[in-house]
């Protein structure tokens, strides 16, 4: 069993708190991703799991064993470093076989194991080469080979694909996920790339300023963000946020922002935390670019929220992104190509926006916590 348990982990560098009393559990054979911007504490956390940093407080357990103060070599881990950290004066074979040679494995077994790993990673033809003759992608696979060769209990990865070019990165995302399933090892990966986290992780821990904002499955992180930070961090383009106020008129509720008014479902509101938050709490309306509906002219059957002017159009091939100026804010809308063609909207055009009430999120402006999750997400959740 190789679960990783982090309890009350705390680490400070001088006056800066890098990791602020976090708890995390990684189940056996689970692939957990630590996601967050630079300086959020994700790498420090990983290094404390690896044994390269010693926590000021708290505990790290691997496979039920308290490893908090053990040296890395006693933790039975494999690690891939951000810039691969391959030994430049050794060949590819010597790099990959290093962990086995250190433990004095018999040469024949070492050679066999290296062959196996090289085949899995498709680098069999590179075995004899010197490390400085490899490309970035090849170096990365050698680094992965070195990490997995011993079949350690936990496999740690520190931004392993950040330094590859975009195409290779998107290819390696899938490869890493497959590999983890194949070797059936517990794995923890650190990244600042939300796309990477979403595609690879079984569960994602979103971190900011040393704290875990939310630790959940990718689907829930995306559709049911716990706070404004998570909602903003995940999703490309990011969620639109508009300061608004809740207005009650003739028994129905309305959200009002400069240039915008959106109707909201009373039942939904009553089931959320919005009303209990108090009338002076200021709200932030959140809606994802792919949920906003754009119309060039008024059509019946639609409840329009506001009118705006197209600030810029970004055609991305399969999708088009419109930046629409409404009130004092810019709302970004993502639309598929076919619909964009149908709309035929250009820069400077006046357009009508619709915010479907089941796609609206409400956040508290002060605490940034999510007060009301979008209706569609709640419905999906209830079905599951």
């Amino acid at each position: 069993m190789a679960e990783v348990l982090i309890k009350n982990l705390y680490k400070r560098f001088g006056s800066v708190v890098a990791v602020n009393h976090i708890d995390l559990d990684v189940q056996d054979r689970e692939f957990v991703v630590l996601l967050g911007p630079s300086g959020c504490g994700k790498t420090t956390t990983l290094r404390m799991v690896a044994g390269l940093e010693v926590p000021d407080e708290g505990q790290v357990q691997i496979g039920g064993r308290d490893v908090t103060y053990l040296a890395p070599r006693d933790r039975n881990i494999g690690m891939v470093f951000e810039r691969y950290a391959l030994y430049p004066h050794l060949s590819v074979f010597e790099n990959i076989s290093y962990p086995l040679r250190v433990r004095r494995w018999p040469e024949a077994k070492v050679r066999q194991r290296v062959q196996e790993v090289a085949e899995t990673l498709r680098i069999s033809d590179l075995i004899g080469r010197k490390v400085n003759q490899l490309s970035g992608g090849q170096m990365q696979r050698v680094a992965i080979g070195r990490a997995i060769i011993r079949e350690a209990s936990v496999f740690l990865l520190d931004e392993p694909i950040s330094h590859l070019d975009a195409k290779l990165r998107s290819h390696m995302r899938g490869e890493l996920k497959r590999l983890q399933r194949e070797i059936a090892s517990t794995a923890v990966l650190v990244t600042h790339d939300q796309l990477e986290a979403m595609s690879i992780g079984d569960r994602i821990a979103v971190m900011n300023k040393g704290n875990i904002q939310q630790f959940d499955r990718p689907g829930r992180i995306f559709n049911l963000p716990a706070n404004l930070f998570v909602a903003n961090f995940v999703g490309e383009p990011s969620m639109n946020f508009l300061d608004c106020a809740l207005v009650r008129e003739n028994g129905s509720f309305r959200l009002e922002a400069p240039g915008l008014r959106a109707k909201v479902d009373e039942k939904w509101l009553k089931g959320s935390k919005v009303l209990s938050a108090g009338s002076d709490s200021r709200l932030v309306l959140g809606i994802r670019p792919e949920h906003v509906r754009l119309c060039s002219g008024r059509q019946s059957g639609h409840e329009y929220c506001g009118e705006g002017k197209v600030y810029v159009v970004e055609p991305l091939g399969s999708e088009v992104i419109y930046d629409v100026e409404i009130g004092k804010s810019i709302v970004r809308i993502k639309v598929f190509e076919e619909e964009a063609k149908r709309l035929a909207v250009n820069m400077g055009d006046s357009v009508l926006l619709e915010f479907p009430s089941e796609s609206i999120y409400l956040f508290d402006k002060e605490s940034e916590k999510t007060l009301a999750q979008a209706g569609f997400a709640l419905a999906e959740e209830a079905k599951a």
Binding site: R73, L86, V102, N132
Partner: protein, 296 residues
């Protein structure tokens, strides 16, 4: 009968702009070269003159060579003993200062501790100290601890003198090696020392070699302390030059021979190791790796 032609390594050709077309540049270069080499040439020539020829005025360029001065040096002045002293002391000082300095440099490069930069600067300032300023106090200290005219005394002194240089040179090279390499070795199962020995050390070996060569040369040529701290037992070669001034005349041929004695061993040494010296100073295992990655 088939003949196999041995492939000659293609000599790199100069580009058009690299070929020097101005003849007067060569003239200046020649003049400077002669001016630089002439004094040394004269010394070497003088060494092979007998006593009378050495004193002749005007100086003679063509003469019958004799090894009289060398013989005198060895039999009468025991130059071979001083040569041995120089050898023992320089090599020992080099080994000790590089050995200790390597670990000190590593510590300064890797560990973070209170006052680290102050310690580093203090180490550097030790090298800035002109030996002449502390010769007399050193003499008195050595006299008190009975280290005057001993090999050990001079070895300790030279080690102390060269340590700052070693630390200063090697610290940068250790800093150039990414910490991640050692960390990877730790994760792979090495202890701290094993990682240092198998990963870090091989990567700085060229720099250490170059530093050792430097220290060897500096120790061999050291004059000030050697003159004061040594006596007949432990005297090294550089101070011996003074002894050729007898009253108001100078034994030119012996002086020339002594210069050859002092300079030749270290010259031969450098000739043999210059390849490692240059490689060490311009080394870049890490830079090669970076270059390879940037090429993508």
């Amino acid at each position: 009968m088939a003949t196999t032609v041995r492939q000659k390594r293609a000599r790199p050709r100069l580009l058009e702009w690299q070929v020097q077309h101005n003849w007067w540049v060569y003239l200046i270069l020649a003049a400077l070269s002669i001016a630089s080499v002439l004094p040394f040439l004269w010394v070497v020539l003088t060494a092979f003159k007998d006593r009378l020829t050495a004193f002749s005025v005007p100086p003679t360029w063509i003469f019958k060579p004799s090894i009289e001065s060398f013989v005198t040096l060895i039999t009468f002045r025991r130059m071979h003993k001083f040569l041995l002293n120089s050898l023992i002391i320089s090599v020992s000082a080099t080994v000790l200062s590089v050995g200790i300095g390597t670990f000190a440099a590593y510590t300064l490069a890797r560990f973070r501790f209170a006052g680290r930069d102050d310690v580093a600067f203090w180490i550097l300032t030790n090298r800035m100290l002109p030996p002449v300023a502390v010769i007399i106090p050193m003499f008195m200290i050595f006299q008190t601890v009975h280290l005057l005219d001993t090999h050990i005394g001079l070895i300790i002194l030279y080690t102390g003198m060269q340590l700052p240089f070693v630390v200063w040179m090697l610290r940068g090279y250790f800093e150039d090696i990414p910490r991640a390499l050692e960390e990877a070795a730790w994760v792979d199962g090495d202890s701290w020392f094993a990682a240092f020995r198998k990963i870090t050390l091989p990567l700085v070996t060229p720099a250490i070699t170059a530093t050792a060569i430097f220290v060897m040369i500096l120790s061999w040529n050291e004059y000030a302390f050697a003159l004061f701290i040594t006596g007949p037992n432990s005297k090294t070669l550089p101070p011996t030059v003074v002894t050729f001034m007898v009253e108001r005349s100078v034994e030119w041929n012996q002086l020339g021979a002594a210069c050859i004695f002092i300079a030749l061993p270290i010259l031969i040494f450098v000739l043999f190791v210059q390849r490692y010296f240059v490689r060490g100073l311009t080394m870049g295992m890490m830079r090669q790796l970076e270059k390879g990655r940037q090429a993508e």
